[in-house]
């Protein structure tokens, strides 16, 4: 005689320690096994796309800072690229290099948070998270030096960056670059080979490459599933075609692979920064532009490889000082499409780590 069980609904969030902000999941459970989940969004819907329609092109940059707030520089970059594409602005050489350095530092910072939060979700009681936060703090220091803020940098502008690097920046960056690989090795030693972590994450929440493409998943999650697709290589924006770096991929696409993928990507970012540091030219950092940009009528979609995936800005202009429509392609939201397929049949504890391994920011989901 089969045991008849009745599924029950567990409501996780919007305020829950592991939901990375205010995300809510209605999980239908059979015992501890997840049958289905319904993600509920909107607890941080701040109408950024609506606000962007009422602001000048320069005034939107502070808004983009607050999209994916742990990778503000990347958001700045994506937005500025979109405006430049729309208005046909040429960016000075030095500014391009500064942008690349900033974007890659930001990638390291954001991926550190992603990895730390994932390990925290696995239950490693804040230790890896705080170690990685300390490293992020070093990067934030550098950002603070150039932009004057610790989280919402508002550093890049259409046509360059707002200010040149201060003279004490390069020595500090060099020191950081010397330090970072050692720390990353230490973190690998801390948990990478840990038996419990492998038992928890290996083979859990597998996302096949085919499924990932069909769900429009991008970024580290896509590459962990074995698809070699990185916009920095496939569709080089800014000056990424000048650097020599690899696109690491993993085979199976489980949680452990996503974790490893992020660690590998940090190493590649360090490589890019090192090259950019060496090649950094001197010159102006900002193109001569009028106070208010007035791009011609048309539309443009510029995308970058943000730490979480493909971040794109789709701007429609009607030749006024504010965009007619500003759509943001949020990698976090679209990566979450695959969540339902990944968690079905796993336990509640796995739901948490699968969710953690996707690495979302609610600010970007809800906008």
């Amino acid at each position: 005689m089969a045991v008849r069980t009745e599924p029950f609904v567990l409501n996780m969030g919007p305020v829950h320690p592991s939901t990375h902000g205010v995300f809510r999941m209605r999980a239908t459970l059979d015992g501890e096994v997840v049958i289905d989940i319904e993600p509920v969004f909107g607890y941080l819907h701040r109408g950024i796309e609506k606000l962007a329609e009422q602001r000048t092109y320069t005034g939107i940059t502070p808004l983009t800072d607050r999209l994916d707030y742990i990778s503000s520089m990347s958001n700045n970059l994506a937005y500025c690229l979109a405006v430049e594409k729309l208005a046909g602005i040429k960016v000075p050489e030095r500014a391009e290099y500064i942008r690349v350095i900033m974007a890659e530092l930001q990638r390291i910072a954001a991926l550190l948070i992603a990895v730390g939060a994932f390990l925290n979700d696995c239950g490693a009681y804040f230790t890896p998270f705080l170690y990685m936060f300390r490293e992020r703090e070093r990067i934030v220091d550098l950002f603070e030096m150039v932009s004057g803020q610790r989280l919402t940098y508002n550093y890049m502008r259409a046509g360059g960056v707002s200010q040149d690097l201060p003279e004490e920046f390069m020595p500090a960056l060099r020191k950081f670059m010397d330090m970072m690989p050692r720390f990353m090795d230490e973190y690998d030693r801390l948990l990478m080979q840990n038996e419990i972590l492998i038992a928890r994450a290996k083979g859990v929440g597998i996302l096949t490459g085919e499924q990932a493409i069909n769900c429009s998943v991008s970024g580290p999650v896509l590459r962990a599933s074995g698809v070699n697709w990185d916009i920095r290589k496939a569709d080089p924006y800014s000056i990424y075609d000048r650097f020599d770096f690899d696109i690491p991929t993993q085979a199976t696409g489980d949680c452990y692979d996503r974790y490893r993928q992020r660690v590998e990507e940090m190493r590649q970012s360090l490589r890019i920064i090192r090259q950019a540091m060496e090649q950094l030219p001197s010159g102006p950092v900002r193109a001569e532009l009028p106070q208010l940009i007035r791009p011609p009528t048309g539309e443009a979609y510029a995308r970058i490889e943000a730490p979480k995936g493909e971040l794109g800005f789709y701007l429609v202009s009607d030749n006024s000082i504010a965009p007619y429509r500003c759509h943001i392609r949020p990698p976090s939201l679209i990566n979450l499409t695959a969540l339902r397929d990944m968690v079905r049949g796993w336990k509640v504890a796995d739901l948490i780590i699968i969710f953690g391994s996707i690495d979302i920011t609610v600010g970007e989901i809800d906008r």
Binding site: E38, G42, N214, D235, Y314, R325, I334
Partner: protein, 146 residues
């Protein structure tokens, strides 16, 4: 570099298969009729040489007299991209077919468009509000929303 496919070339191919489906086409994009959208999308995804299997994003633009839904497709294999658009002129009850059956990635984005623009996607399994709450009056990204 991702090569943007010429909208005109693709339009002629679609026109060949489904006569009368393309409204207009230019170098950058092509606009298909709403009732042909699903067929055209399937054609774009499954045709050899096009293989547009990756839906980058779906969004909508409100032009007062009509809504334009923009699909940005690309192919990871051939590394090319294409923008297709569909229009709906009904402001009170705009309806378009859902492409969730072809690209699952459209799932949450179509719900988002429904929420913020009020465009209903037929055959979408969970067509309900995603960001705002049930009972919210209006659709905020419409231009006439105060």
């Amino acid at each position: 570099m991702t090569i943007p496919l010429s909208g005109k070339d693709v339009a002629s191919k679609i026109e060949e298969k489904f006569p009368g489906s393309v409204v207009e086409s230019s170098q950058d994009n092509l606009v298909v009729k709403g009732n042909f959208l699903l067929d055209a999308a399937r054609f774009l995804r499954d045709t050899e040489g096009l293989d547009l299997d990756f839906l980058n994003f779906v969004t909508a633009v409100d032009y007062y007299d009509h809504f334009e839904v923009v699909y940005w497709l690309s192919s990871l294999e051939h590394n090319h991209s294409l923008t297709i658009k569909a229009r709906c002129y009904d402001r009170e009850n705009p309806v378009l077919p859902s492409v969730v059956g072809l690209w699952q990635g459209a799932d949450l984005q179509e719900r988002e468009i429904f929420d913020l623009f009020g465009i209903k996607f037929e055959d979408h399994p969970n067509m309900k509000r995603i960001f705002l709450w049930e009972g919210f009056a209006g659709h905020p990204l419409r231009k006439d929303f105060i």
